[in-house]
């Protein structure tokens, strides 16, 4: 077991998988960095530092710096995947699904179905997402709900270095398009990572805490916030089941329902505006399938129905906090 952070887990997994499988190519803006400059290629890696050394090792045919053309990037990934390769495309900010959605939604996601199950489109799209760095309304969004809604896509959100490795490996070994979400505030999160091959199956949630009094379902940064809330609650003798979904599509319904059947209380923490959100999705699932177990109304902890603001104070008010999760747990428990 090595100790590394999520950034390192991702870059080392990319490196290892590209070595193993020559059909893997990566493409995106500035993932090499320095092309056409005095400094030359790899003068600077991608702005997130997740792709260093790939160009030097695998060359320009497999590590492709692109112009600012997200539709073309995702479209090229779609085409390369149909053509038998395994492209890994980077969207520097997940918000840029706005300028590339068609290729994700109407192309990659639908090829296999539209073409009668005769094609595979094993493309991985890495989306850097989330609030917490005051990057304002167009660079802070968590678009996983939008993509979870789309049949044909798989949606993956690692929250630990081990999962980053396990889920990325799984994505690169699978044959479906995978939306791989990397939260910009979690890159530095450290942890143990299994050596050698490590795959984490999709649709298998991680039970982060087992407490039994209430079920908190979360993904991405909300898992970490859930842990903070859990610590505070534990001090008062309240134990929560904290579920890290790991993947929102496929969804581990069983883990959620099993827990709620035991606790009777559901809290969903979701870094997103409230409407048609993942929070609503999980709450509705539980209401529909664990109706008789529920002892309190499902609590959805989300941002407000507003874009994400810039100023520190406002962004902090927008993002669901550990405090808000804690409050929601207490509300659920107080309900009679």
């Amino acid at each position: 077991m090595a100790i590394m952070n999520i950034r390192e887990a991702i870059s080392s997994t990319l490196m290892a998988e590209m070595e193993r499988d020559s059909s893997i190519i990566v493409l995106g803006e500035d993932i090499v960095g320095g092309a056409g400059t005095a400094g030359g290629p790899e003068a600077i890696g991608g702005i997130w530092g997740t792709t260093p050394g790939l160009y030097a090792k695998f060359g320009a045919d497999r590590v492709i710096d692109t112009p600012i053309s997200e539709s073309a990037i995702i479209g090229a990934a779609a085409g390369a995947a149909l053509a038998g390769k395994r492209p890994v495309a980077e969207l520097m900010f997940a918000d840029f699904v706005g300028v590339s959605l068609d290729q994700l939604w109407n192309q990659m996601a639908k090829f296999r179905y539209m073409f009668g199950g005769k094609t595979r489109c094993p493309a991985v799209v890495r989306l850097i997402y989330g609030a917490g760095m005051n990057t304002a309304a167009q660079h802070s969004q968590s678009v996983y709900a939008m993509l979870t809604a789309m049949p044909g896509l798989k949606v993956v959100l690692p929250t630990t270095p081990a999962d980053a490795k396990g889920l990325l490996t799984e994505a690169l070994r699978g044959d479906d398009p995978v939306m791989f979400f990397e939260h910009k505030t979690l890159y530095g999160v450290k942890g143990e990572v299994p050596d050698g091959e490590h795959r984490q199956r999709f649709g298998e949630a991680r039970m982060v805490r087992e407490g039994g009094d209430a079920t908190v379902v979360a993904c991405g940064r909300m898992v970490n916030f859930g842990e903070k809330a859990a610590d505070k609650l534990a001090a008062d003798g309240i134990g929560i089941d904290l579920i890290d979904l790991r993947t929102t599509s496929p969804l581990d319904e069983e883990a959620i329902l099993d827990s709620v059947e035991a606790t009777g209380r559901l809290i969903v923490a979701d870094e997103s505006p409230p409407r048609c959100s993942l929070a609503a999705d999980i709450a509705a699932l539980v209401a529909a399938k664990a109706f008789t177990s529920l002892k309190a109304p499902p609590q959805m902890v989300t941002g407000p129905h507003a874009p994400i603001p810039f100023a520190r104070e406002l962004e902090r008010a927008w993002v669901p906090s550990p405090q808000k999760i804690e409050d929601a747990v207490r509300r659920a428990l107080a309900f009679r």
Binding site: D61, P67, S69, A72, G75, A76, G79, A83, F115
Partner: protein, 323 residues
């Protein structure tokens, strides 16, 4: 025109098959048996065939909403296509795609596409993939004069130039996008090739109603691209004989426009005339092909009609390889 006899007959057969397929669909659609949107390729046959006759199954094309011609030219099974358009269980795409979404990866046909302009970046991706294998394969996108105004098409051209991908952009200018003329919608007074040049690639121009002109230009173009010179484009001047989709009243056409086009711009007539004058083929050879094609299409329709529909229980199958 140094083409051997067999290849000439083959080219004619492919064009005639497209023509017969489409003319027949035009009739069958009136019966109401075929649902959804159908966009006929009639009139543009020389473009698809003149281009695809240079391609092997290893070369990959992406097509458009008007894709039947590209499919047939690239070697998709005609009967399976017909069944697909009829929405049958054993259609080429199990009845899930229909006319606008026909694909057959086994012959390098990566898909028709209902989203105008979506194919061009995919062809660049296919080209990037092809280059990795180092066999001189190409990724090729068919686009219309309408599609050439979509941002994705421009991005794809620039990307292909930047990464020097063996990508080919075939612009079939049939002078209409739906009911709008190219002289209106293409800012550069309907010169698409020069736009491609402005992106930094070489561009060819040819008569897309003339098989030989298209074929010769494509030969040059593909030699250039396969040699590793990066992407290239070609603008093919062509015509569509039917409406934008079946049901289009075509009030935007001039009086007698279609009759005139059928008279003066019919690639099959032109082909016959050319091979006749040059004494390369006997009219009887071509008549025989016509008869065989007619037979094939007749069978295709008969079989498609009789074929079983999809099972509604399968509606959510094949979304993922594994989920």
């Amino acid at each position: 025109m140094q083409l051997p006899r067999d290849e000439l007959i083959g080219a004619y057969r492919r064009m005639a098959t497209i023509r017969a397929f489409e003319e027949r669909l035009h009739e069958e659609i009136k019966t109401g048996e075929i649902v959804g949107f159908t966009h006929l390729y009639c009139g543009q046959e020389a473009a698809a065939v003149g281009v695809c006759d240079h391609l092997t199954d290893e070369d990959m094309i992406v097509s458009t909403h008007r894709g039947h011609g590209h499919c047939i030219a690239k070697g998709c099974d005609v009967k399976a296509m017909m069944k697909e358009i009829y929405g049958r269980r054993d259609g080429l795409c199990k009845g899930r795609g229909g006319s606008m979404h026909i694909a057959d990866l086994s012959v390098g046909m990566l898909g028709a596409n209902g989203i105008v302009g979506a194919g061009a970046p995919q062809a660049v991706g296919a080209a990037i993939a092809a280059r990795l294998d180092g066999k001189g394969r190409v990724g090729l996108a068919f686009s219309g004069d309408g599609a050439c105004n979509q941002g994705t098409t421009f991005e794809a051209m620039n990307l292909a130039v930047v990464v020097k991908a063996p990508a080919v952009f075939v612009f079939e200018n049939n002078h209409y996008s739906e009911h709008t003329g190219d002289s209106y919608a293409v800012g550069t007074s309907n010169d698409i090739a020069s736009r491609a040049e402005a992106f930094g690639m070489r561009a060819w121009r040819a008569d897309g109603c003339d098989y030989f002109d298209t074929y010769e230009a494509m030969r040059e173009l593909l030699d250039y691209v396969r040699a590793g010179n990066g992407p290239a484009a070609i603008e093919l001047d062509t015509e569509r004989f039917y409406g934008h989709f079946e049901g289009d009243p075509q009030r935007y056409r001039g009086p007698g426009e279609v009759d005139r086009l059928r008279e003066t711009r019919d690639c099959l007539k032109a082909f016959r005339a050319r091979v006749g004058e040059a004494k390369l083929l006997d009219p009887a050879d071509l008549d025989r092909v016509d008869a065989e094609v007619a037979q094939l299409i007749e069978e295709a329709v008969t079989e498609a009609r009789a074929a079983p529909p999809p099972d509604p229980a399968d509606v959510a199958q094949d979304v993922y390889v594994d989920y």
